[in-house]
């Protein structure tokens, strides 16, 4: 019996080639999207789960509230992690990680800038599953000035040499002995590293770190099996109270610690200062939704086409019933037929997947590979998909087709599908609703990206090149190099600063602005600049003056603030106001006073996702706050390559041959929107696919309606209808459906995209223009698709059409 069904199905497929092609292609594209998104989602969900202890590892984070503002960060202070192990029996182990900025590392004559350097306790190997290829995990990082390299990094420096026992030079001046080689960190980790240096080095060399209040490291803890991390979290206020209670009270601050499961970090944590750029659970939901919807669009095609051409199967149904076939048998036949369709489609979808995976990877910034196919549940998953789609797409047609009464279909008076036309209309509206919503989403995302690129940032970002490793030099060296640079041909201006827009880096410090009592400290970010900063970056003063070399008091006493800071402190006239800062070096907790000499207009130091923060800008002579890392050079337009060569030469001479490491300010600033651009490109791709699948269905459907109405069209023509009149008649039906879909899709897209836009502190509004454009696009696509059939039907000789009956 199955063979009989199979034969019929196969012959139907080969006999109606156009129909089968539309159906199978549509389903295949839908399935390929679905598999692709599933692969992506599975990858997202797999983050950090490869650790043997994954379910027992937690990260400790904090929330600091000061002067009415709260900051959360995934950071703790040096003594916190060991204290947790000591005081709470359920905490078995802890590891501290400390991140350092891009640093040159040297072995022999090889020097590379390393982004991925972490300082770590040796317990890192006990807690996480980072297997050592060489060296002893028990003591690899136990001593100070030891380092463990990833396999790739070791190969980069040592080639075929044995790395163990070799010495690498960190930042030109510190010597680290290589004590181990670790397997490269899997890509699906919320943090990766190339070099681990022993945390003990920091403990010994930077004693100021050991203060309880000096929060700047990452802390991970390993809990006992079945320990309740929320219960632990509830016990932590006591720990803070014991060690920091008085100090916090003094400045009117509160500090809370949180315990965060490792496996939640990638998708649920998006704090300032994460170790890597994390994913977002919302996108997981969003894309899962898109996958389901695209698959549904493909299923709808199948349903629509199958019911539209039901008449051609009706006689078979009637005959089978007179043979004594039960309806259930017929349902089974048609469902297995649609499963066969899906099976063919899934094979095609794998071909599509193989072809388009590299493209998807480049759009999504992933390295998904077909090796994924070897996973044990891939084949069952695929078969499950075939069954699922087969049932979803095949059930309705099966029920519909099997419901035919033999007496009616065998008499040949089946009124082909008028009653079903309404149901099909609903489905077409559904398809177009999804397509239109996706198109609208795309338009809105691109609008916003366009906006963030064109908005006035408050500084001039073009043609500024930044050398960002000035911190290993003394101030006088930095200044002499700055002066040398400013004399170069093709250089407009040069400045030294701690941070630059797009890479602020500065820490939050607590300050006591004038008019605030001692327990009302304010948490403000600090930046350190020289007197050329404003002119080089084109930042304007709102009032007051810039730092000046001529005025001696400017060196340490004066500060600039931005407009937001002035507003935060409630100052109408900020010039001359005093900002005090606790002197952490003095045991009596004295205050250092700064006088505000100028207010700069707000400029975006972070991406437009973040609101502009209050900012205190100190002069380059200020001894404690921040370090000067960056030298920014504004280039004259034209011949930039020449100027760059000049700068490079000077740098080599100045730095005694450190590699020339630089970035362009505008590129770095734009990179902050990379994830948003990815999202935009992904949504664009998927909406294109949704539209293609939808159009395939529309094409098929319109050819059937045109066929069904051949006689009607013939009669109309005989009665004198013009060709355009006929085309209009055929277009009208689908045009109305697309318009209806627009009405449903607009609010849908509006509410979803509004939430996305709220992720930007500065964003465009969703105007009616967006929707009108979207609607017109959808309408144009639909009309273009349908008009092919409409015109074909309209030019048909009426004699032929009428003979057809």
């Amino acid at each position: 019996m199955i063979r009989n069904y199979f034969k019929i199905a196969l012959r139907n497929i080969t006999r109606n080639k156009a129909y089968s092609l539309i159906n199978i292609t549509g389903l295949a594209i839908g399935m390929a999207c679905c598999i692709l998104i599933t692969m992506w989602v599975v990858d997202e969900l797999s983050f950090d789960r490869y650790h043997e202890n994954a379910g027992r590892i937690y990260r400790v984070t904090h929330e600091l509230t000061l002067g009415g503002t709260s900051r959360t960060a995934p950071l703790v202070s040096l003594p916190m992690a060991p204290a947790l192990v000591e005081e709470y029996p359920e905490v078995i182990n802890a590891v501290r990680l400390s991140r350092v900025p891009r640093t040159p590392v040297q072995y022999g004559d090889k020097v590379f800038y390393e982004e991925g350097i972490l300082f770590a306790d040796s317990s890192v190997f006990d807690i996480f599953s980072f297997p050592l290829v060489e060296g002893n995990p028990g003591n690899a990082l136990a001593a100070s000035y030891t380092a463990v390299l990833s396999e790739a990094t070791a190969r980069k420096y040592f080639g075929d040499e044995d790395p163990l026992g070799k010495t690498i030079i960190y930042n030109g001046s510190s010597y680290y002995t290589v004590t181990g080689v670790v397997k490269d960190v899997p890509r699906n980790s919320h943090f990766t590293f190339d070099i681990l240096c022993s945390y003990k080095t920091l403990v010994e060399d930077q004693p100021w770190r050991s203060a309880w209040g000096n929060i700047g490291d990452f802390g991970y803890i390993l809990l006992e099996k079945n320990a309740d991390y929320r219960a632990l979290e509830n016990k932590l206020p006591a720990l803070i109270d014991k060690h920091l209670g008085d100090a916090l009270k003094q400045v009117g601050a509160s500090l809370k610690l949180f315990v965060q499961p490792l496996t939640d970090i990638h998708l649920h944590s998006n704090m300032v200062g994460e170790l890597g750029s994390n994913g977002n659970i919302v996108y997981v939901y969003l894309f899962s939704g898109i996958a389901v919807f695209i698959l549904l669009i493909a299923c709808v095609n199948f349903i629509n086409l199958a019911t539209a051409r039901a008449a051609s199967r009706a006689r078979e149904v009637g005959m089978r019933k007179t043979f004594g076939a039960m309806r259930s048998k017929l349902i089974r036949q048609f469902v297995s037929e649609s499963i066969l369709f899906c099976f063919l489609a899934v094979i095609l979808s794998l071909v599509l997947l193989e072809l388009f995976l590299p493209l998807f990877n480049s759009i999504a910034g992933r390295e998904l590979s077909v090796s994924f196919w070897r996973s044990p549940w891939f084949i069952p998953g695929l078969l499950g998909l075939v069954l699922l789609v087969g049932l979803a797409a095949g059930s309705y047609p099966a029920f519909y087709l099997s419901s035919f009464q033999p007496i009616r279909v065998l008499k040949g008076d089946l009124k082909s599908g008028r009653s079903n036309a309404r149901f099909r209309s609903v489905l077409v509206v559904f398809q177009f609703t999804i397509s239109i919503a996706l198109i609208a989403g795309t338009v809105i995302i691109y609008n916003q990206l366009n906006y963030v690129r064109s908005v006035n940032l408050g500084f001039q970002q073009d043609q500024v090149v930044v050398i960002s490793n000035m911190n290993k030099f003394q101030l006088y060296q930095q200044e002499s190099f700055r002066n040398e640079m400013s004399g170069l041909a093709g250089v407009v201006d040069v400045t030294l600063s701690s941070g630059v827009p797009g890479k602020s880096g500065g820490y939050l410090q607590n300050f006591l602005p004038e008019g605030f009592s001692e327990d009302q400290s304010q948490l403000v970010r600090v930046m350190k600049i020289d007197e050329h900063f404003l002119s080089t970056l084109g930042i304007e003063l709102a009032s007051g003056r810039n730092f000046s070399e001529e005025i001696a008091s400017d060196s340490v006493e004066s500060v600039l603030i931005n407009e937001t800071a002035a507003a935060m402190f409630g100052w109408d006239e900020a010039i001359g106001k005093i900002i005090k800062q606790p002197d952490t070096q003095s045991p009596e907790r004295d205050y250092i006073s700064h006088k505000v000499i100028g207010v700069v207009k707000d400029f975006h130091i972070n991406s437009l996702h973040e609101p502009i923060e209050p900012l205190i800008i100190t002069s380059k002579y200020e001894p404690w706050l921040e370090t000067i890392r960056n030298l920014s050079v504004r280039l004259a337009p034209g011949n930039i390559r020449n100027t760059m060569d000049l700068i490079k030469d000077r740098w080599s001479a100045f730095s005694s041959n450190l590699p020339f490491d630089y970035f362009f300010l505008d590129e770095t600033f734009a990179r902050q929107y990379r994830e948003d651009e990815r999202l935009g490109n992904l949504v664009l791709s998927f909406s294109l696919l949704a539209v293609i699948i939808g159009c395939l269905g529309l094409l098929g459907l319109s050819s059937f309606t045109a066929e069904q109405r051949t006689r009607e069209i013939g009669i109309r023509k005989v009665l004198g209808a013009s060709m355009t009149g006929i085309v209009r008649l055929l277009l009208k039906e689908f045009t109305l459906l697309v318009l209806a879909a627009n009405v449903i899709a607009w609010p849908l897209a509006y509410f979803v995209m509004k939430r996305w836009l709220e992720g930007f502190a500065y964003h465009t509004d969703i105007g009616p223009g967006t929707f009108i454009v979207t609607g017109l696009i959808a309408l144009a696509i639909a009309i273009l698709t349908v008009s092919y059939q409409a015109v074909r039907a309209a030019v048909l000789n009426p004699v032929k059409a009428l003979r057809h009956e």
Partner: protein, 222 residues
């Protein structure tokens, strides 16, 4: 075998009932060869459909063998189709996607007959109808007469007790029609009950009993 008692069939058209059959009383014994005659619209096909249980009477009583047809469930009805009834249609209604062989095989599949026996039954039937050479052709590759031959072959392959034929020769020219009627006569001699609806006096001549229908009434003579 078949007892129709006061069978009436009407269709609702708005508030008016359009009568197609009116109070038909009919007894048909096993082994009969009956011809239903009447002009177009007299209700021949409707009567045949009701006998074949493809349609249901609006009023009246219908007993097929020992079953009260009115109360039958889908399952029992399909059981009766499988066991007892073969249909032959004016426009053949072969399944276009299947070859002659496969078309013949299909009813056997629903009867759950084993593969080897199915094969021999199909081969016997092909032999008997002398269409062995055509077994791999599709319906569209056959002439009308050949298609109807296959249609009948398909109707009798499952060895039904009753063959219902609705204008079996309506689309055929007279020579082909004659062959089909001779075939029916031979089947009837083998014990199969045959009921056919037809316009053709020529066909009626082959049957042993003729009933006349006019405007839904059973009449003695046209």
């Amino acid at each position: 075998m078949i007892q129709l008692k006061d069978i009436t069939r009407f269709y609702k058209a708005g508030s008016v009932n359009t009568y197609v059959l009116r109070r038909i009383n009919l007894d048909i014994r096993e082994g009969e060869h009956i011809c239903i005659m009447g002009p177009s619209g007299a209700g021949k096909s409707t009567l045949l459909n009701i006998i074949g249980m493809l349609d249901e009477a609006s009023e009246g009583e219908y007993r097929f063998l020992d079953y009260d047809v009115h109360g039958l469930k889908e399952k029992q009805r399909s059981q009766l189709y499988k066991e007892f009834i073969g249909f032959v249609f004016q426009s053949y209604h072969l399944i276009d996607e299947l070859t002659v062989y496969e078309n013949l095989e299909t009813p056997l599949l629903y009867k759950k007959i084993k593969s080897s026996r199915r094969k021999s039954m199909v081969c016997d039937t092909l032999d008997r109808f002398q269409i062995v050479g055509k077994k791999d052709l599709f319906p569209s590759q056959l002439s009308g007469g050949q298609q109807q031959l296959v249609g009948i072959a398909r109707a009798i392959i499952a060895e039904p007790k009753l063959i219902l034929a609705d204008e079996p020769t309506g689309n055929l020219h007279s020579e082909e029609g004659k062959k089909i009627m001779e075939l029916f006569t031979r089947l009837n001699e083998e014990g199969v009950t045959i009921i056919q609806a037809t316009h053709s006096e020529q066909n009626a001549a082959y049957s042993k009993r003729i009933i006349y229908l006019r405007d839904g009434w059973l009449v003695d003579k046209l």
